[in-house]
Symmetry: C4
């Protein structure tokens, strides 16, 4: 039954890694996060494409989220094929080998007190 | 007609209880909340499973939301079978005996001014 | 075509009017808002029911949103049949005579800098 | 396959451009944003209608989002047929020639620390 939780394709139209931070790292470092819940009994193989305003998309970034696990990926930490530049608008498309649930969160600590925002990503299938 | 409001399975991929707070409790204590609306005429028996990044899921946590009632559950308050650790990424899956609506909210008061975020959970059936 | 924008029943499981504010009113008064877009060519007659944790639901609160208009209702401003108490968890169910789109927003200015959160309400038909 | 990502009509019931800002522009200028992801292989021609509480809708505002690109439009920047007034509740309806994904974000820096909120827009087809 848990194999039927979520979708295999998710989109996030917003994306932006703030350029600086205020407060102790890593908890209060400004970050852009893609939270994935894999409630199924099989590992989820993910491929993430990153879209920009003024150049071709890059990726896929690949990662595995274990069966019955969650993973809160910071876009800040992506390295292969290339880091995502800070202070640059982007968007993302996440494809998974099994159904998962994807949620988008940003913590912005550029000013003295941090700001937060979150939304479910948009399920595309 | 109110028995048709919402879904019986909801997922929240994001979850994190901030490690400290700033401001008067309980209103401004940092908290992670799962708000449930049961607009039906029958009590809703809920089972919540909590998923982690690096260990098996725990639960079910059980609670009842009365007919024609709402309940704003703080994940901080869950005790049985075990408290949810602070400063630890998690995700949750909520199953209900009747249709309900579930919304996820965090209040983070680690810095001098509180931050808020909310999103509808993802309906899975 | 605009008569097909949105749904006629929406639910918001989260609801809470903060107890105090910091900053100039009305813009920075703490408030809980239900934003309605009526993109249709007919007026929308709305009925809102408010649900609580420990007592029966109250309502309906009635209002009209004109054809091709938006209305950003502050729950703080509801008076008939009764005001919604502050610092009290609630939830809401909005029914409309025509299709509309409903979004939930809170501005919380209890501390020195305001916090914001928003989400689309959950469409129920 | 990427031609099937998203919808062609999206609604955002909330809209408000804060009247002032605190912090370096343009990053921390208060703004209301409509983020669009066009994951398809064709350019997306967009038409945006803006709805108000007390006067007829205005628009369409037209823009193009290239194939395989994102665009993070600040409502603040719209000029033709007319700028959107600050400190005025509005709502928006976005129609696209191809499927896209739309997300709504506000950065409010009226007080000393900025606040953020985001949600997926509501897909209408």
């Amino acid at each position: 039954m848990s194999d039927e939780i979520g979708s295999r394709t998710w989109a996030i139209a917003e994306g932006y890694i703030p350029g600086w931070s205020h407060g102790p790292e890593p908890a209060l470092e400004s970050h852009e996060t893609c939270c994935v819940l894999n409630a199924s009994d099989r590992d989820a193989e993910l491929e993430i494409m990153i879209f920009f305003e003024d150049r071709p998309a890059c990726g896929p970034y690949r990662l595995t989220v274990g069966a019955q696990r969650t993973f809160h990926l910071r876009f800040n930490d992506l390295r292969d094929p290339e880091p995502i530049p800070k202070e640059t608008p982007f968007a993302s498309l996440i494809r998974s080998s099994v159904r998962v649930v994807v949620q988008h969160t940003r913590l912005d600590s550029r000013q003295a007190a941090n700001a937060l925002m979150t939304t479910m990503a948009h399920p595309c299938d």
